[in-house]
């Protein structure tokens, strides 16, 4: 089993799950559950799409562990390698009929993301990457250039968990500070999509504090292999919480200084 075979199954699973999301996107009958916060919700469509992915991944190799957002640990068989998936990243957008949502699938080996795919079904855009192969959107190889901080557009991903008010205040202060010293700082509601857009150069940098790893694992690889520089730290392996800063190489130092001065991620 090599990276190209894994990549092929990740691509297939992401697109098949994306079809389920699109089939139900216009319908207004999706029930949802609130999880850790008002923004952390899941729908029955999440689960349907997740089941589709699990089925495809297990058919490919039934001996690999799968971590999912909704069902947690599935198929607990392998120690040093696993799939980590979010069948619907951007659920709030999805239920509000905002088309910024996607499927995110990553394959991790020895704590390193090796292969990943993100499918954005509304826009029919497929992002994928594998170590030793590269980073791509649809038929195009992705390679980011450089930029100045003041000309840069950023995206931030807040944790779905409820933080203590003091920390949340600092996160908003940071957002405002970056927003006012650059082209802007957006919160799109999908961390995976932020990173996909960073990979193709629409965003220039992104950061997240205590993000769920299934939201960002795939996107971090796609963005990194497109030429962005990454700093990350797993806060909790058990809860799959990860903080990160990633940007075009020329602005990494500046954005890191700003983020660190407020949040001390690393």
């Amino acid at each position: 089993m090599n990276n190209s075979e894994i990549l092929e199954v990740a691509i297939k699973a992401s697109v098949e799950a994306g079809k389920i999301l699109m089939q139900n996107f216009e319908k207004n009958n999706s029930s949802f559950n609130i999880k850790e916060s008002l923004r952390d919700i899941s729908t029955e469509i999440d689960t349907m799409a997740e089941d589709t992915i699990i089925k495809i991944l297990k058919k490919f190799d039934d001996e690999i562990t799968i971590y999912t957002e909704e069902q947690g640990l599935v198929n607990d068989k392998s120690k040093n390698k696993y799939w980590i998936i979010d069948a619907l990243d951007g659920t709030v957008n999805y239920i509000n009929k905002i088309p910024f949502f996607c499927v995110s699938i990553a394959f991790v080996k020895d704590d390193k993301v090796e292969t990943s795919a993100i499918f954005v079904p509304y826009f029919n855009d497929l992002y994928f990457a594998a170590r030793g192969i590269g980073s791509f959107k649809n038929h195009q190889a992705l390679k980011v250039g450089d930029c100045n901080f003041s000309d840069s557009l950023f995206a931030v991903s807040f944790s779905g968990k409820n933080h203590e008010p003091e920390m949340r205040k600092k996160e908003f202060e940071l957002l405002g500070e970056v927003n006012d010293s650059s082209r802007g700082c957006l919160r799109t509601g999908s961390a995976a999509l932020n990173l996909a857009l960073l990979a193709e150069g629409s965003f220039d940098g992104s950061w997240g504090k205590a993000n769920k790893y299934w939201d960002i694992a795939a996107g971090l690889l796609i963005a990194e292999l497109a030429g962005n520089k990454l700093k990350k730290k797993m806060i909790s392996k058990d809860n799959f919480l990860c903080s990160f800063i990633i940007s075009k190489p020329s602005i990494l130092k500046e954005i890191t200084n700003k983020v660190q001065s407020k949040l001390k991620l690393f």
Partner: protein, 367 residues
């Protein structure tokens, strides 16, 4: 006094063909080449052998060059040249445009994309940028025997070169023609030549052929290529009212040159970058769409398109096409990767005949 010509790209057209157009008696050659190996060889030897196939025989010439620059080294020297030729491939072309902002030196763009010269003219403000069509097949390599004698050996056909008559003062063994005549030549080149040339290459790649003439030796491939050419001819006649006599002459010439066993035209070169050739307005999808829009069903072109989907070549910049075609259903591949819409006739035609066509072209391997 000899004219100094700066040639961007010391590959097939740049090194292999242009010195036959601009002969050494009247022109001095300066190259810009990013491939270090070729650059070093050119700079150390200062000459190379070029062979032209004429009536089944080779005519050999040894061309001398002054220097081969690494990209960027030539910038400060631009005003010293009489004119510039560019033959670097469309993907590399865009990186060069900024070099010529504010210049007025004649620049002939020998690229397989007629829009590029207009784009360069617009961005640089240089009104002396023109389009040129090298109607020729030039290999970027040669037979082992020739390569042993000189690793820079290169083989070209005895082709024709058409250039916008705006720069006819530059001379050379070529035809300077009006924009309307150039447009007819371009349509014939773009569709009759380019489309069927790459179809022959993609089909040849499937059977493991190394050179284009090996591909054309297969009776089934020859038939598909010939069929695709017929579809293109019908489309050009119906849509652009190009005269049948010219189209017949052009097609016959192409079939004969694809089969030229003296050329050693590598399939890896012709088939490279399949996604570029599969772009919506390009030689494969674009040609098939135009056929359909003209009432011609592109049965054979579609076989070529499917062969392009199946292209596998380690080292090609679009080699990842195989991961996509292996993992996606054909309708997803067409809509996500190729950008065809489900209601389009070409989409339907490919999907509805997918299994049958795929089996047919995969069975070519067993011929």
């Amino acid at each position: 006094m000899k004219k100094k010509v700066l040639i961007y790209g010391a590959g097939a057209i740049g090194r292999g063909y242009l010195p036959w157009v601009y002969k050494p008696e009247f022109y001095e050659y300066y190259f810009v080449e990013k491939n270090k190996q070729i650059r070093d060889l050119l700079n150390s030897r200062k000459k190379y052998n070029s062979y032209m196939t004429i009536d089944g025989q080779y005519e050999k010439k040894t061309f001398e060059l002054k220097i081969c620059y690494s990209p960027g080294e030539e910038i400060n020297e631009l005003n010293n040249f009489s004119f510039i030729c560019i033959a670097v491939g469309p993907r590399n072309f865009h990186n060069l445009i900024d070099n010529f902002i504010g210049t007025n030196i004649p620049i002939i763009c020998f690229e397989n994309d007629s829009s590029l010269s207009e784009k360069m003219k617009k961005i640089t403000g240089n009104q002396n940028v023109v389009f040129g069509i090298p109607d020729v097949i030039t290999s970027n390599t040669a037979s082992d025997k020739f390569l042993k004698e000189d690793p820079l050996s290169i083989i070209t056909e005895n082709g024709e070169c058409f250039i916008d008559d705006k720069v006819n003062h530059l001379g050379g063994e070529c035809s300077y023609i009006s924009k309307s005549e150039l447009d007819i030549q371009w349509k014939a080149k773009l569709y009759i030549h380019n489309t069927t040339h790459c179809i022959a290459a993609y089909l040849g790649n499937l059977i493991g052929a190394k050179y284009l003439h090996n591909s054309m030796e297969s009776e089934k491939i020859y038939k598909i290529v010939e069929g695709a050419m017929l579809e293109i001819k019908k489309m050009l006649s119906l849509r652009f009212k190009i005269k049948n006599d010219f189209l017949d002459y052009y097609s016959k010439k192409e079939l004969s040159r694809f089969s030229n066993s003296k050329l050693y035209d590598p399939i890896a070169r012709v088939a490279r970058e399949p996604f570029r050739k599969l772009a919506k307005n390009e030689r494969l999808i674009g040609a098939a769409s135009l056929c359909l829009a003209s009432g011609v069903v592109p049965i054979n072109i579609i076989k070529g398109i499917i062969a392009a989907f199946c292209f596998e070549k380690e080292g090609d910049s679009d080699y990842y096409i195989k991961y996509l075609i292996n993992s996606l259903e054909i309708n997803d591949f067409l809509s996500i990767i190729i950008g065809l819409r489900k209601h389009e006739a070409l989409f339907q035609l490919i999907v509805n005949n997918w299994d049958e066509n795929l089996n047919e072209i995969k069975n070519l391997r067993n011929e």
